[in-house]
Structures are given as C-alpha cells and as structure tokens.
C-alpha cells in the first residue's frame, strides 16, 4: 500500500480490514524513506527492529481477531529530543552523538501502547534551538515543497516527514513555535497543547517553563486522535495536570456557528508578508462565512514577546544544559587533565554555535548584577503578555493569527543573523509564554506554491475549541 495520503484512521482500518498488514505498511514507509529522505534529511536514526516487532504484534492481533487499539499499526516518527529506550537519541547535538536512553518518554510509550509503530527519530535544531533546522549537528532538513528552502524549526524533520509521506504523523516539541512554525512551512497540521496537558517525562529539557510535546499530522482529526492518546496526568511529570482528558475526536464536528473568533491587529503589523496576510485574511472571511463572529481584540504587549521569550528561554536553557558535562552520558573531550578542563573542552567540542550563544545569553541574564534588569524584567512582562490573553478570552472563544510572518525562507538566508532568525517566531512565542494551546493549519499557498499557515489560539485546556474551528476550516477549504 502506498503511504501517500494515509491518515491515522485510514492506516488503521486498512490493517483491520486486511487490505494491508502493519508490517507491510512499515515496510512501505521505510521504502519511501529510502527513496526520498536522501535529499530531505528528516530522519536521524531508524528504529527498524523496534518498529517491526511492534508491527508483528499488531498483525498477530489482527490474525487472532482481537480488537485493535486506536493507533494500531500507524507509522510514526519521533523528534529526536524525546527519549527512546535502546534507540539513539541525540537532540540534534554532537554532544549526545552516542547517547542511548535507558527509558522511554511517556508520550512515546503512550503512542506505542495505543499500537503506533515507531519508525525512527526525526532531525531537529540542536536541543530544539532554532527556527530553520539549520542548527542541527547532523545537517539541515530541506523543505519537501522546495528543496532550496528550510522546513522551519525546530521540529523541521517532524514536519518534513509528514509532508513527504514518510510517516503518517510525528511528534514534535514546541518551546517558542517549534511545532507550529514548521507545520506552516511544510503545509501540515501542528498542534501545541496547553502547558501541563501532555507529560514531558523523557523530553530532553530546553526551557522547562515553556517546553511542550505535540503532534504534527496530515489532518485536524489526526491531531485530535494523537492528543487524546498522549494527554493526561503522568506521575513522572509533576507539571502534568490531573484535569480529565476530553474526547477531542467526539467534539470535532460540533457546529462552529456563533463562536466568537478574535483578530488582533498586533499580529498583522509591520513585517507581515503580503501574501501571508492575504491568505490569513481569506481564512478569516471563510470562517465568518461558516457563521463565526469575528471580533477585534487587542493584545498590546505582543511587540515585547520576542525579547521576553529570548531572555526566559535562554536563562532556563543555560541551567538545563549544565548537565552536559562529559561525565554521565555526553561526549567527553580526549586528553584532558583536570575536571574543569574536561567540562570546558567537552562542552566546547559538543555544542554548536547557536547553543553556545543561547547558553551565554542566558547565563548573562541570570548573572549577578543583571538578573533584575533582564531575567526578572522578562518574567514580569510575561505576566503582562498572559494578562493580554486573559482579557481577550473573556470576549472571544479563540484567536486567529498568521503562524509565521513569511512562508519558508531559503537555506542560509537568515543563518548569519540570529536576531532575524528569532523574529521568525514572532507570532508563536506568545502562546508558549502564556501556556495556552495553539494549532497551525494550512490556509493557502504563495505564488511560488509555498504553504501558508493559519494559527488558532485557545484558552487554557480548551484544545477542543481550536480543534473544532480548525476542522471546520479544513472541511470547508
């Protein structure tokens, strides 16, 4: 069976109805990876043994006439920041080139318990730090729509693999836009759940108050199916909440008529590409046509989101990345004589430029004499940004914005200017800072046939509404 256009339900029912087997489906995806991924570079490691063992288990269930779990035999790719027992996990960094985790990330374990088949690990920016996937220690990922362009980042491999049908869906992580922005650039669906909705146990930490795990899929319904599977309290992650997990799939087709959708002028300001603006405005009109009420809202602190984000995220990163010291699981430089020399030379040799830059910025922002001026200031502005959303959500049920100010840019275009690269996240960092959920769905193309993303932001723990709006738009498009 050709992997092209298979959704989660499509894959599962093809197996259930014996039109294919889980093993054949995994093989078909590996064949496609073999054929396509040489030029795209989405996979870092293939986990064939693990995939085939799981696929055979599913096929035995079919043969025995047992009821199949919801993701039975569905091939998935996992961003390489999520730990997989016995399967190399690098976080896109040379400092973890040979690291093989002794345990599984909870989200991955839940997918496998639901029958999913883990094909391998997806390329990404080193430690999820980047917006183009050019910061990977293992080479860039190329956008399947146009190989001269980036797939976005940091979950670039996750987005490209779904777009190129090398996996039915993937998991990514989002700290400042790393699921939604690559989803927009590659023309797929990317969902960042509410902070606390999905356990981060086994996720290699970048910025702990901002890190989220979520799916990249071909359809909105698939995103709902995956979220339903991975969401919910995990005793191994104290930040995962015990709020009940709604049946996101059952809620999908509730009518959207009468929903109030906010549009904030701050997300349509200077720097927004005209083609992106036109596509997003067209999407807003379409949702209005479906009976939604479009309501102007104001999120006045939006222009302060990028500086706030880059202080908080780098400060947390400088602390989280202190663990890479050449002692327990990371690369160690050869020929060192003292402990201090071992730390420095191992870290120098293992980390790439952007990671070092962020560690430096974060360490500076936390250092004596600068803590109040930078880190504490950013935490206060984070409160203001969150209050903006609190106020807006008293008036509207969801907010519509572009996902990124431009479509996919060219490789090398921004790689020498860190600040220009950071601004690619201008519409996505706000949701991470406020902890609210957001989804990016395709809403058109540029003249050069590059995908454009519509972002839908929702209230805390109200993924059901943004999924419903996304689904209504997708069905109407």
């Amino acid at each position: 069976m050709e992997p092209i256009s298979l959704t989660i339900e499509g894959a599962r029912s093809a197996i259930q109805e014996r039109k294919t087997t889980a093993v054949a489906l995994a093989d078909a995806h590996y064949a496609r990876i073999q054929k396509e991924d040489g030029q795209i570079g989405a996979f870092l490691t293939l986990s064939k043994e693990r995939a085939l063992a799981q696929a055979e288990r599913i096929d035995r269930m079919v043969a025995d006439g047992k009821p199949l779990p919801p993701l039975a035999g569905v091939p998935v790719g996992i961003k390489d920041v999520m730990s997989t027992r016995g399967v190399r996990t690098t976080a896109g960094s040379k400092i973890l080139e040979t690291y093989t985790p002794p345990y599984d990330c909870t989200a991955v374990a839940r997918l496998e318990a639901a029958g999913a088949v883990v094909l391998g690990k997806m390329n990404c920016d080193e430690f999820a730090m980047g917006s183009s996937n050019e910061n990977s220690g293992y080479g860039p990922v190329r956008n399947p729509r146009d190989l001269t362009r980036v797939p976005g980042g940091s979950s670039g491999g996750s987005a490209a693999a779904v777009a190129a049908h090398m996996a039915v869906f993937t998991l990514g992580s989002d700290t400042g836009g790393s699921i939604r922005q690559p989803a927009a650039f590659c023309g797929v669906v990317g969902l960042m759940p509410t902070y606390g909705r999905v356990s981060r146990y086994g996720l290699i930490a970048f910025a702990s108050s901002l890190d989220h795990i979520g799916p990249l899929t071909k359809t909105v319904k698939d995103a709902a199916i995956v979220l339903r599977t991975i969401a919910g309290r995990d005793p191994m992650d104290s930040t995962s909440t015990d709020l009940p997990v709604p049946d996101y799939v059952a809620e999908l087709d509730k009518p959207v008529r009468g929903l109030k959708l906010g549009v904030a002028k701050e997300y349509f300001a200077e720097g927004l590409d005209e083609e992106v603006r036109a596509a997003v405005e067209g999407a807003i009109e379409k949702l209005k046509g479906l009976g939604c009420e479009i309501v102007p809202v104001s999120l006045p602190h939006t222009p302060y989101a990028i500086p706030t984000y880059y202080l908080i995220a780098t400060a947390e990163a400088s602390s989280n990345l202190a663990r890479y010291d050449g002692v327990r699981y990371s690369h160690r430089a050869r020929g060192v004589r003292t402990l201090s020399e071992m730390y420095r030379r191992s870290r120098d040799g293992g980390f790439g430029t952007e990671v070092k830059r962020r560690i430096m910025l974060g360490t500076y922002a936390l250092s004596a004499g600068y803590y109040d001026a930078y880190y504490l200031k950013a935490q206060k502005v984070r409160t203001l940004l969150t209050r903006d959303f609190d106020a807006a959500f008293t008036k509207v049920d969801a907010i519509l914005t572009p996902t990124s100010p431009t479509a996919a840019f060219r490789l090398g275009e921004k790689s020498n200017d860190p600040l220009a690269m950071y601004l690619a996240d201008i519409y996505t960092v706000t949701a991470d800072l406020a902890g609210i959920p957001g989804i990016s769905i395709p809403c058109g193309e540029t003249r050069e046939k590059l995908p454009i993303g519509l972002q839908i932001l929702g209230r805390h723990f109200d993924e059901a509404t943004i999924l419903r709006v996304a689904r209504a738009f997708e069905q109407a498009a």
Partner: protein
C-alpha cells in the same frame, strides 16, 4: 556597548565554555545586538507587576487554594510503586565516557 570582552570571558567561565578567539568575537557582536533589541522591555513600567515563573499555578488548578496546596494532585506517597524502578548500575553507566563497575570516572577533582 553593553557587553565587553571581559564580560564574555567572565560569562563563558560561569557557563563552563572555553570559546575560541573567533567565537568570542562573534559572541561579543551577537550578545550586544540581541541585548540592544531586548532593551525595548524598558519601555514598560513593571514596578507593580508580579513576575511569572510558571504557568501552572494559575490554570488547571484549584484557584481557591493557596501555594503548594494548589499542587496537591502532584503529591504522592513516598513509595516506588507505579514509578520507574531504579536503573541497574550497568544500564545507568552504559552511556558514560568512562566508568568502572559502580562509578563514573572523572579526572582528579582537587585541582581546578
């Protein structure tokens, strides 16, 4: 310029990074350009705004409760059941660049 060459050396030292001459020059340029941009935060008066260290004390918790009471759901009995078992030494040490049967091995710690 906010950040000087001396600052770069000091911060690299704090972060246990060495950095080549080239990298130091790059850091000096990039940190200054980023911090210039970050300066726009000073346009905001935040004297009466509380800092936000995390999201989860405001949403998805019982807001009638105060402090750690809000996180009662995250508290558990001090037992191993339901949690991951401790790793055997062989697995815990498997990724170490240098180890014996029981311990990670590192260069002498006394001298810096």
């Amino acid at each position: 310029m906010k950040v000087t060459e001396k600052d770069v050396t000091y911060v690299a030292d704090l972060a246990n990074l060495e950095l080549t001459e080239d990298e130091r020059r790059g850091m000096l340029r990039d940190l200054n350009s980023i911090l210039d941009y970050v300066d726009r935060l000073n346009e905001l008066d935040t004297s009466n705004v509380p800092p936000m260290a995390q999201v989860s004390d405001r949403y998805g918790v019982d807001e009638a409760k105060q402090g750690s009471e809000r996180f009662a759901y995250a508290v558990r009995e001090d037992v191993l059941e339901g949690l991951r078992r401790s790793l055997p030494h062989s697995e815990a040490l498997a990724n170490a660049p240098d180890a014996d049967d029981d311990f990670f091995r590192v260069p002498k710690v006394i001298e810096r």
